[in-house]
Amino acid sequence: MSYLTLAFSLIFVLIPLILSKTLNLGLEKDTIIATIRSIIQLLAVGYILQFVFDSESSIYIWLMVGLMIVAATQNARKKGTSIQGITWKLVGTFIFVEVLTQSVLIGLGITPPTAQYVIPISGMVIGNSMVLGILFLNRFTAEMDDKRNETELILSLGGTPKQAVQRQLKTSIQASIIPTIESQKTIGLVQLPGMMSGQIIAGADPVQAVLFQLLILFLLLTTAVITSALLGFLSYPTLFNERMQLLEEKIKTDS
């Protein structure tokens, strides 16, 4: 695809702009900003990737992965500001998920340790982990706020903090994972996944594209469960002190 043909695709930006103006939706400014940002960000990534692929140095690969982790942390931490040390808990979770998935993929020879594989797969894994982290933190802080009485009831009956948050943790982990599982159930029936579609458009064998997509799906399932569970078990202790008292100021939901 050339830049000229891409320019034609801006028609698909013009349509929402016109509709927004006509229907008084007030979305023109955001649409323009989103369009410009996506063009700049993706083009920059494209050129950076080209440089990394050409350089054949693994340092650049891990630098890219590090950058992804920093950006994902920056984005997700806003949802968990009430949790002490949330930044490092997120960094730890993303690194754990990345190391685990790449170790399995590279260790078992499923994918080669080259930029072409490591960077896109890491992007999907860390990106998914970020979304899951945000979903989990949103739900968990809301659950803790909502079920304050239940938490204190268990504590007052002689329960430990872990026992007191067990139900809230379980509900939050389930709630954040369900969208991943549900979307996997209908995948291929309702929509073709983006990565697979991209490969097919680029001329890859559809069966090969499906095999890679399945690999990604399984990876994302692991990512989902590990992210929520790890964040949950890292986060809940910060809501209590050493006297097993619920710290009220820590459970106010961010709004």
Partner: protein, 241 residues
Amino acid sequence: MEPKQAIRFDHVDYTIDDTKILKDINHGFNQGEITTLVGPSGAGKTTLIRLCNGLISPTKGRIYIHDQPIDEYNPVDLRKKVGMVMQGVTMLKGTVRENLAIPLKLQDKTLTDEEASRLLDMVGLPASFLDKNSNSLSGGQKQRISIARSLVNRPSVLLLDEITSSLDTVSQQEVESLIKRINEEYKTTIVWITHNLRQALNIGDYSWVMMDGEVIETGKSEFLNQPNDERVKAFVRSEFQ
């Protein structure tokens, strides 16, 4: 001889965000007796009993439970020894049996049907209630279950926060006689927050009147008929009217 105190406060303050909720509390709850805490809303009564159960800690001063500083207790052991029934009954999803079993489940133990039935009997409910969904119960029934649940740990002190405020008169009297019975049979020390002065007079051996975070007047509950402090007089007058 001075009666033995189950809980003793030694110049206790509790402050949140520069606001003193409790100021220099320096009294105690007599062992094996029923003490009622009365006073207007915002007087610090709930804060006081949350301190006793270890859900919060004093900002200043010390609390002694059976003559041992509260901070020397393991929080879990403390909360088993000093039970609490909170204001506004909280039931977990599930059956009455599951709710009654919570305190033992927390210790990886199971509640036998026999024990569960005995608890229900104690609070005046038939064993057939065990399999009822806890959310289908009336306010009074839930309150009784929550009292029964707090007894599973066999606490030596039981803290009750406005447990009859949402009940009708008949249910209120039933809960009152239940608490009296628990106090007499098990020698459990009872600390009962109530808005109801009649209740304080009827069942409290002792009463504390609290206002603005301070204990204004204490003594055998009869003093509520003829208090000394002018503020308490005004409060009692307004409550009895």
